[in-house]
Symmetry: C2
Subunit: 296 residues, 2 copies
Amino acid sequence: MEAAVATTTFGDRVAEAVERKRTQLVLGLDPVVDLLPVELAGEAVGAEGRANAVARFCRGLIDATAPACLGVKPQLAFFEALGSHGMRAFARDAGLLVIADAKRGDIGSTARAYAAAYVEPRADGQPVADAITVNAYLGRESVEPFLAACKRHGAGVFIVTKTSNTGGADVQDLKLSDGHVVWHQVALLAREWGSELTGERGLSSVGLVLGATYPREIGEARRLCPEQVLLLPGIGAQGASPADVARAFTSGPASALVSVSRAIDYAYRAAGGDWRAAASAEATRLREEIWSVSGW
Amino acid sequence: MEAAVATTTFGDRVAEAVERKRTQLVLGLDPVVDLLPVELAGEAVGAEGRANAVARFCRGLIDATAPACLGVKPQLAFFEALGSHGMRAFARDAGLLVIADAKRGDIGSTARAYAAAYVEPRADGQPVADAITVNAYLGRESVEPFLAACKRHGAGVFIVTKTSNTGGADVQDLKLSDGHVVWHQVALLAREWGSELTGERGLSSVGLVLGATYPREIGEARRLCPEQVLLLPGIGAQGASPADVARAFTSGPASALVSVSRAIDYAYRAAGGDWRAAASAEATRLREEIWSVSGW
């Protein structure tokens, strides 16, 4: 079974999982020690205590929200705090895909080292993550080792394209001589890089990261890149709502994944009560709302 | 003494150090286990053995080349392998600036966490690194926490602008509607972000990373950004030579730093003999050649 899974393309794995589980929600893990629930904050003393408290928090969130989620997206920094193997094993037990939010972009041996560390199989035959986010400012060369892992091991790559923050416009929205803007061209490069990595279900292993805070741009990206899975952060703390991502799903129910971090992680601060129950309730609500706007 | 150093701007620290030591050479640390000298390769067994062997290699290189170098530029991944505090302490004992080659680019809490981890003072009052490389694709917001560290703690930031790899052109050389290309605009943003961080010696704490493999572009960047320190990798294994960086120094002897990794780290493979002696000889040779082309 495991061997067969490893050679299925990432696009096909996402398509299969979304249809089976009927959810496009990804749990973003954004653990901040100062915001930990009281029962965990007490033990978060010293470097080891903090790491343990953060690990318990993340595992509690995964456990509570797994029925409503397709995957989990931890910031790479937190992988280290949690121990990457433990994290992967836990997410896998919960039946979730793991998207490492690395935003790495480097060349040659460094890019190869990152690919080996995160999306190529380790000693136990499994990679630490199923997919990884990559910054493509250094061009195809910096993405190449990840594309190789897509081809050989069924990994996925999400190219950071149009980010959710307002300041992203400084570079991403610069106007090109052909009338496009910079992020359009990054999207078209991702399409080109992913053109030979499209699975049987029509989705490529190379996706795009786009801020849910930019609904019009989501529509533009969808038209430019019909085969790309769009990974959309920005709902909740950053101000976007499920309605803002509706245009992302015209290439199928699995053609976009919506990543929500703080609104789920810290739901208990608004809702009160047990932190796990609050996260579960918020994830369940978002899952339904997103599925509904997706039109599938 | 330490307190005074901490409040001097990074530009002034670089200017003072270059003039005192008469070198613009930075030792790039790019340790690859398979390329370790025989005497170290033997003990590089298992994760801990590899980490120890790499640490001994890096420390040997720092020790051997310190008289010829201004600073050391380790890939961030290797900081972790070496233990970041040990690394910093060792480089400081050798009288070297530390430039963390992170190429990070992220927003909000993640960018703040990276700034805190690398360029803000730790428990011992010292930061892990004096400066850090940053990818600005996510805009000013992603650079802001590092600019704050420049202002408060005398840190430095190098914005990844025109990289040494050929594939960098995919995004960096896209033509803008105003006739510039993307990397020009990134350079101008860096100039703007660094405009209030210029020291008494006329150099800003916000510099640029430019590939020494692009001599013409170095001249363009120098004209666009007269106050920026240019950090120039690409000499040696990537094909550039000291003559290629001559145009970088028109803003003063400290207005460019030349980072060389593999040609020094693995000099023993071409030269034979002791690896430390080979690294020392190559660093000495490069230091003199670069100082000579700099025209100071």
